[in-house]
Every structure is written in C-alpha cells, then in structure tokens.
Amino acid sequence: MNRSPLALDVRKVNKAFHDPVTVQVLKDVSFSVERGAFLSVTGKSGCGKSTLLYILSTMDTDFEGDVVIDGISTKGLPGDHLAAIRNEKIGFVFQFHYLLPEFSVLDNVMLPGLKLGRKSREEVEADAIARLKELDMADQARKMAHQLSGGQKQRVAIARALINDPLIIMGDEPTGNLDKRNAEIVFDIFKRIAAEHKRSLLIVTHDPDFAARTDRNIVMEDGRVIGGHNGSSTK
C-alpha cells in the first residue's frame, strides 16, 4: 500500500461556473488532510462547500489545480480510473441518504464491495453485516432500502461508505436531515471510525456544535478557505 502521510492534499483548486454568467466559486483552495484526522468544513450557504466536496471526491473534474489522494495526483486521470479511486479510497455520505430503493439494505451496503472485487461475496456480506451491526442496523439488513426511516437510511449510507475500508470519508451535511439524537449517533460513529480505524473524515456541516468537536474545522467564505480553530490549514 502507498504510505503517503497525507490522505488528501488539495492544491490551489479554482472553480468557476459559466452559466449564466461566470462566477468564481472556489478561489485558490489549498489544504491537506492527515491520516486519521477528523475535519469539518463550515461556511455560509453558497460559499462553495458542496462544490469543493464534489471536486475532492473526483466526481467533478472540471476545475483548475490538483487533488492528490493517497499520493496519487487525480488531475487528468481517465474516468474509469477515477471511478476505481472513488470505489477503493473514498466513502461518500450525502445529505440525502441516497440509497438504491430497489435493493435490500444489505445489497446497498455490499455493492461497492462487490464492485471492488477484492473479496468473495461471502466475505463482503460478512463485512457488510459487521458494519451494519456497528451502526445498530443489523436487524434491518433484509429490508428494502425504501422501507427505512430517514435516520436509518443515513446509517445505512454510512455503512456503505465504510464497506471498502476507505482512506477518507467525505460527507456533505450527513446530519443535516437528522434530529439531535440521531445526529449525535452519527457523530459518535464518525469519531469512532477516526479513532479506531484510523480513517480520515472530511465532513461539511452547518452545525457549529458538530464542527467544534472535530479535530480541525475549515472555515470557508466566498470560495476561500479563511482558516478555522485548531490552527489554520492553509498549506
């Protein structure tokens, strides 16, 4: 395995939308995420947090600068290569849980693992059940995804993000839709993943409480990283 000390290195990322008029959404964004670090990103609505996250997760390739994941520069890589990186190294949790409604809970969690193809179906299934158990969802494994409550779906989405034991987990307001109690559960899960599994987390949130309890908080304003508590992150 590549033993780069940084899970993620963001180098001078610029992004502009040209429709209807050119708007510079991200301006020279640079920071890095160490292995096992739990980072949060905060900032006013519209400051470019989601846009940044889509770029970091390699789904959006239309930007300037470079994103280095586990020592691999992703700039200019072909689409299937990026898909493989996403599959192996990145776990993504969306604001709106986003499960495949026609699949069972277990299948939803297993799919990225089966796609990776490193383990047999049985092993992937055992992993998936273990993840669901950690999230207190093992008893729901056979249900269809659309039969779950919002909080339950969010936990399934987290289990899915964890199935390939990714280097970094990114979340775009993963607790935004949850009540205080469920948000608390999710936060604890993240905390545990960082501590026990030594995985990095980069979570966008509007919840200052949430942000305050992470290792480091990156504050954005108007497309720029303007710093945060626990030391500035600008490289």
Binding site: M59, R86, N87, F92, F94, Y98, L100, E102, L111, K115
Partner: protein, 423 residues
C-alpha cells in the same frame, strides 16, 4: 460482469410491468416473423413443388426440325478443295425422316451421366402423341413412358395420384394412369379399360390403374403415364428407343451450366429447370422479400418500444445511476448495465417469441386447406426450417442491442454531480 448482470436484473424486476411490456413487444414481433416466414416459405415450397418437384433439372431431347446443315452441304464441304473452288449446291429443305424426335445414343448418354458425380438420378422417357377414343370423339393426349420407380423416388410421382397405386404402373403391362381431366372427359375410372390410338393408327387397349392430378388443370387434360415398355410396344419401337433423358442433380444451381455442357458434348438439345421455369423463381423471391420486409419492420417497431422504455427507465433511475457512479462504478459499467438490461428483454422476448412462433406455425399447420388443385395437401403448408428461428433470434438481439445502446450511452454520460446537487 456478474455483478453488473445482477444489478441489471434487479433494476428490471423493479420495473417489472414496463419490462414485460417491452419483452412482449419483442415476443410479438418474433412470433410474427417466424410464423410469417415459415408460412410464406411453406407456400413457396408448395407452389414451387407443383412444378419443380415434377421437373427434371436438365432435360435432354432432340427437337424435331430440319437439319440446319443439310446432308448435301456436309458432303460438299468435306470435298471442297482447290479442284472445285467456285461450285455451289442447290439442294435444300430435306425434311426430317423420323416421325418421332428420338434421342439417339440415349443409352450411351445415360451411361456417362450415371457416372457423373454431380448427377443424382438419370431416367429416360418416351413421350408420344396418342388419341383416346371416347365414344365418337377422339381426345388428343400425350402419353409419357416413364421409369416408374425413378419417378416415384426422384420426382414424387406418387404424391400426385388421387387414386391408385403408382407401383401398379411398374408391375403391369398395358396399364395406364390418366390425368384427372382426361379421365373425367372419358368418364374412365380405375379398373376400366381405355382404347388408345397412336399417330400411325395402331390401336391398343390399356387398363386404368390410377388417376393423376398435378394441380394444373390444363396439363391434367392431356397427360397420361405408363411405363416405357408399354409405350415402346404401342409404337412398335425397339427397347432402346427413348425421346428424353431427364437428369436430376445434387445441386440445382449447376443446372444451366451443365445443360450447356451436355448439349455441346452430346449434340442434343438440353433445357435446364431455371430456363424452363423462370417465372416461379421470381414469384418465390418476391414473396420472400415481402415476408422478410414485414418481419424486419415488426422488429424495428419492437426496437423502438425497447428504446422508449429504456429511455424512460433511465430517466426514472437517474438517482440510481448517480449513486452507482459516486460509489465507484464507471461510465462503461453503467452503460453495460443498461445494455444488459436491454439484451435480457430481447433474449426473454425473443425466446418467448420463438415458442410463440412455433405454436402459431403448428396452429396454421393444423388448419384444413383442401383444394382440388393440390390433392396431397390437407392443411396449410408450413416450412419449419431452423433457419428462420436463427434469423429471428439474431435480429431480435441485434435490434435490442441497438435499441439499448443509445439509452445506455446516455446513462453512462449522466453527471452524478448534477443529479446530487439537484436534490
């Protein structure tokens, strides 16, 4: 690939109704395609068979005509030399001597052809003009002296008998099988005797052992069959006297070339089946083109159905596509999923269509179809050739592949960011 396949199946199951509608569309068109081609070709074979089964691939004969090179001319040219340069002969129009177009050397020709590997069967014929005496009326007819066993075997002679056993013709002397029209005009039935007069005035009594119906009424009014020996006796000719040699080949397509070859080699007239029956080929071709065209149009319509349903499905599954992409499935993976989905519809619909097509063919095959023109046919004809089933499957897969390809490509190009942001 297995994973993509199982995803495709799950997506299909989730949209079971639409998938079934699409598959039924394919099934319907495959059913119609197979049935149509089987039925059309069954009819073609039937119509072709009416003539082609009965027709030799090559017929060798001698046209009765004045020799184009008169004897005196032949002799003249042979002696033409320096001693008689400017002379000219005046003898022309020597008429043919024989009253029958005898095929000379028929036995030697048959010997050679028997050994030719291209030839399936060689059978001689002796055809003569005769009169039948029905009361005071003389009916003009053509009596065909045939090699009965060969004709049964290679020209399906037995299929065209409405009454009697063709083997009786081989066994007996002075027996005859009359065309249906001819028998009706004479009011002759099996077992009765009829009087026949040859062109040279000799009379004989022949016993009717069968009635023959070719399906072409005019033909049946003037044709009758017996064995060669009987005709030779009627005409008082020797045992080696034949007018035609009929050749059946292994490969029908070789007939025209071989007819030319035989004609040149033996100095006889030769006509091939294609030249003799050009109109039948054209008819079959046109029917074939029509049935293929209709079948393919049906498939294209089914293809549009699949295209529509897949497009709709992709629109409804944009979220799923975005999730798959976000979790590491590449564009080509997504494309394969939807292409597989389309192919599954095509395969299931196609398989059901083949079964349906076979069922419909069987149904048509059991509908009674009796016509006076075709004595041995009792139900509508069907050609059950595997060929049409294979063509149908190939076309079904091809159309579903094409119909699936465009929506699948569209799915592969879905930008997950746009979908996720759009929520």
């Amino acid at each position: 690939m297995k994973l993509l396949f199982s995803i495709a199946v799950t997506l299909l199951r989730a949209k079971l109704r639409q998938s079934i509608v699409a598959a039924v569309g394919v099934m319907f068109s495959i059913t119609m395609f197979v049935t149509l081609l089987g039925f059309m070709n069954g009819l073609n074979d039937l119509l072709d068979g009416m003539i082609l089964n009965r027709t030799p691939h090559i017929r060798l004969y001698n046209e009765l005509q004045a020799s184009p090179r008169q004897p005196v001319q032949v002799a003249w040219e042979a002696h033409q030399g320096k001693d008689r340069p400017a002379a000219h002969h005046f003898i022309r129009s020597v008429k043919p001597k024989d009253d029958l177009p005898r095929l000379r050397n028929a036995e030697a020709i048959m010997d050679v052809l028997d050994r030719d590997p291209r030839v399936m069967a060689v059978s001689p014929r002796l055809v003569a003009q005769v009169f039948f005496n029905a009361g005071t009326v003389d009916l003009n007819a053509q009596v065909n002296g045939i090699d009965v066993n060969d004709e049964i075997r290679y020209y399906r002679f037995g299929d065209y008998l409405t009454e009697g056993d063709p083997h009786d013709l081989a066994a007996g002397n002075n027996v005859i099988i009359l065309g249906k029209g001819l028998a009706d005009m004479m009011a002759a039935t099996v077992g009765e005797a009829v009087q026949v007069t040859t062109a040279s005035g000799e009379r004989s009594i022949l016993r009717v052992v069968g009635i023959f119906q070719s399906g072409i009424a005019d033909y049946d009014k003037v044709q009758c069959y017996t064995n060669i020996k009987t005709v030779q006796k009627l005409l008082a000719r020797p045992g080696s006297y034949y007018t035609d040699v009929n050749v059946k080949l292994h490969d029908l397509e070789q007939a025209p070339a071989m007819a030319r070859e035989l004609s040149a080699r033996f100095g006889v007239d030769a006509v091939d089946i294609q030249t003799a029956n050009a109109q039948f080929e054209t008819g079959s071709d046109v029917r074939n083109i029509i049935s293929y065209a209709v079948g393919i149009v049906l498939l294209i319509v089914a293809g549009f159905g699949i295209y529509n349903i897949l497009n709709m499905m992709i629109y409804e599954k944009l979220d799923a596509i975005a999730i798959l992409k976000a979790t590491g499935f590449s564009g080509p993976d997504v494309q394969r999923i939807f292409l597989l989905l389309s192919m599954i519809i095509g395969l299931l619909g196609g398989a059901a269509g083949l079964i349906g097509g076979f069922g419909l063919q069987r149904l048509i095959d059991s509908i009674p179809f009796e016509t006076a023109a075709l004595p041995t046919i009792t139900t509508y004809p069907i050609d059950y050739s595997l060929k049409y089933y294979i063509i149908a499957v190939v076309f079904a897969l091809l159309t579903t592949w094409i119909a699936g390809w465009f929506p699948a490509r569209k799915a592969s190009r879905v930008d997950p960011v746009e979908i996720i942001r759009g929520k």
